[in-house]
Amino acid sequence: MDLDYHALAPELVVAATILVVLGLDVALPRPRKYWTAFAGVLGLALAAVPLLTLAFGDGPETRSMLGGAYVVDGFALVLKAVFIVGGYLVLLMSVSYIESDRYYQGEYYLLMLTSILGSLVMASSRDLITLFVGLELVTGPLFLLAGWRKGDAKSNEASLKFFILGVLSTAILLYGMSFLYGLTGSVTFEGIREAGADLLDSGAFRLAVLFTLVGFGFKVTAVPFHFWAPDTYEGAPTPVTAYLSVGSKAAGFVGLLLLCYKALPSVTEIWGPALWVLAALSMTLGNLTALRQDNVVRMLAYSSIAQGGFILVPFAAAAVSNDPAVIQEAASATIVYVIIYAFMNLGAFGVVIAGARRTGSTMIDDWAGMWRYAPRLAVLGAMFFFSLAGIPPLAGWYAKFAMFLAILRPGNAWATALAVIAAVNAVIALVYYARIGKTMWMDHVPEGADTAGTVNPLTGSLALALGISALFVVVAGILPFEFAGVFADLAKVVTTGI
């Protein structure tokens, strides 16, 4: 069995970092536990180095291992880069948050890195078994991280709700996968693709595909499988929420992309309508519920459900067309949206962490008039929230632009109907994003607010994380086509073999 160690290097570096953090956590006395944070942040930064050598080195473009079950190609590399950079930003946001309370620091970084390792495995998986193991490696540690504030009843509740719905979704997913394997006789995506074309009329196959979609629907918090998300997001520590809404959600979308475009491209009649409904419901319900939230974390939870709906929209475009160019554009629109969403949502959560530290509250009303006493925070907040709303020149506009372009390209009535629903929702979303901006910039400071500023809300690492996100959001928003050019090739890799 030949292993390509260069191709596996990012995963190996992260795995080594996990062991180092574990060792340090055991060896260090309590006052020095913060070294585990340094080790984690450093290790994750090192893991990006082999990614660069793989992407820009001389080696083959596609490195396949374990009989095609584990593949490192352009698609895997870009998503691994997203997971590593996203994980890096989350770790930076966590440092001062975790230090500020009686948390278990070593275990926190250990579990967070394990979850990131899982997402790296998922990006390379090309068979059901690897995909499933990667997915569980992503979600397993997150069940524990959601309940990290051990004494807090809300955090306990968040963790238990997440766990029960998480294992339920895993069971449903596995039941679907067992039939996918059973009916096609193969666990690799390639084998399923070849055998699946003849099984279009089989009711059992239809059911297997739908079960698998439901399983991933839970992971990407698509309505109606979203119940756990707002409660878990509110109860979990905020950096964990940031990771949940970006890292674990992106992992779910990677699974969906692989499944729909690599394993099941011949049965678009089955997954196309299902994802059409999920996308329309997620956008509409997510946005309408977000309108009525007073807590900024809960509002972001519903907003991320709605954004998940936008990310699902291009799948429906790929389903109604047989033209490879359209399918490629749809795949690339999804990837571009996931990447831009990762940065702007992480930025928004960074602002929430800093704002909660400054005002001591996550209620939107308590943030009124923030620009009078915390101008930098108010500027960053407005930036990320307006980027989420899709206002140029911030990156969010390009994500929505690519999404609309992909869904309008086929010229099909169903696809156009979904585009109309998406357009209406983009307007609804603007209302609640702009409301936060208005509260922070135009409302009066509430009575009794601590405006003297005894706490510095932007500690070094958090400021760095916010700076990186802000830089990306501005640069990708101003030079979107240079940014998107990189992804045009990738989408080809995703959809080859259709």
């Binding site: 963790s159 294992v167 339920l168």
Partner: protein, 101 residues
């Protein structure tokens, strides 16, 4: 090789698991219900493996991974249930209603 009877058994176990998950209020029983659903998956995988009878034995490998990960998940789940029980002296999931909408 009769495949259907195993698939029917799997489907029955899965349905009992879903029913248990929806009807039971005790967190530990809910966990047991999920285990039933995973057992159904394993029966399916092994039955399909025997049906295809390939040298690669993918079904068995898959089943072993499912068993291992299910065990890890039970560990995580029991830890979380213990934590909740410690703070509220109750394992009833209906009482987890601090957060709504």
């Amino acid at each position: 090789m009769v495949l259907t009877q195993f698939l029917v058994l799997g489907a029955l176990l899965f349905s009992i698991g879903v029913y248990g998950l929806l009807s039971r209020r005790n967190a530990v029983t809910v966990l047991l219900a999920v285990e039933l659903m995973l057992a159904a998956v394993n029966i399916n995988l092994i039955a399909f493996e025997a049906f295809w009878n390939t040298a690669a034995a993918h079904g068995q490998i898959f089943a072993i991974f499912v068993i291992t990960i299910a065990a890890a998940e039970v560990g995580i789940g029991l830890a979380i249930i213990l934590l909740v029980f410690r703070n509220r002296a109750s394992g009833n999931i209906d009482q987890l209603d601090l957060m709504r909408w």
